[in-house]
Point group: C2
Chain length 199, copies 2
């Protein structure tokens, strides 16, 4: 005899397929979804369907968007001479929150990783090259803002190698000590980079 | 400007409304649901809707069921003279796993808790009393298997006070169960012993 009714088993299985959700969490979530107000469960179900239906990638910057061209790329007030290359949509949000940048973006949707099997074809590097060459001298600077880890560095180096010959000005985010931190808790490499790049 | 497209914001909000899911987890889950194969996202969305549509409470034992009377209550092979009262559907599963019990169940869907505002009206105690009095002497024993914590003990004592005057034989799981635990996390043998030694 099945332990739970079939539709409940299905729900638990679908939930436990989510990343970071184990079987016990999935059971807890399933019971919650059964006992919560009906509109709350319906809201989640519809939100999944609607997000899948509506969200596509911006034709220009490849960021997630409900329109063919996203609001940032379509904006009249953004500086179109700079393109900041980030790994994912959260990178865009992080940089927007800093309020220090008014240019455009390019979202790679990942970083190169031979171990995880992520090759240049899995990222939007091709689209970035096409965009830079199509815009010609309209793009004056490409800022590489990949994550400061092995995969991010590898990706940045790879893209630099492709863009430099094309004559584009390629910059990287400065390395140094984070604002508000304490020297004693910094790792050696960060401190070393901060000393190297002192100004 | 909104940080994410509206439908993505909605999805993140709906996910972060789940118990134990913070905003960062919700973002991670939302990005996963956008990038996973379409059928996987659809499966979760449909599983939620279908579980809400199909699952109701068994008319007899109040356990979750897709039918008016659940498979356990409808079974010809179960001992209909015993009713084991548990707090939730997971309690039924825990006891079934012990393979020491072949009677029926009654699911309370909670435990009395003045602090959490759970009163007898919020549980299926009324249904239990009606069931016991309607069956008359057909039910020879009511086994109280609430969780061995304060709320569970309170609930068991409350139900005992209601059933004893009606002449029903009321037993409790033996004190083999560790105090402060929850039925669903107990191992099969401990549960089996507790059933054997019920008093």
């Amino acid at each position: 005899m099945a332990l739970f009714p079939e539709s409940l088993e299905n729900l638990i299985n679908a939930l436990s397929a989510l990343p970071g959700v184990g079987i016990k969490s999935a059971e807890r979530l399933a019971f919650y979804l059964l006992s919560c107000p009906p509109d709350k469960a319906a809201r989640l179900s519809e939100a999944i369907t609607r997000a899948r239906d509506k969200i596509t990638r911006c034709r220009v910057c490849q960021n997630l968007s409900e329109d063919e061209v996203c609001a940032l790329c379509a904006s009249e007030t953004r500086d179109k001479t700079a393109v900041c290359v980030v790994q994912d949509p959260k990178g865009v949000i992080a940089i927007e929150r800093s309020r220090e940048y008014n240019g455009l973006y390019h979202v790679l949707h990942g970083a190169l990783s031979p171990t995880a099997g992520v090759s240049p074809r899995d990222l939007t590097i091709e689209e970035l090259l096409t965009r830079v060459s199509a815009e010609g001298s309209a793009i004056e600077e490409v800022i590489l803002a990949t994550n400061p880890d092995v995969e991010g560095e590898t990706t940045a180096n790879y893209i630099t190698g492709l863009l430099k010959p094309a004559g584009a000005r390629v910059t990287r985010l400065a390395r140094g000590i984070p604002v508000g931190g304490s020297l004693e808790f910094l790792d050696d490499r960060t401190l070393g980079r901060a000393l190297e790049g002192r100004s």
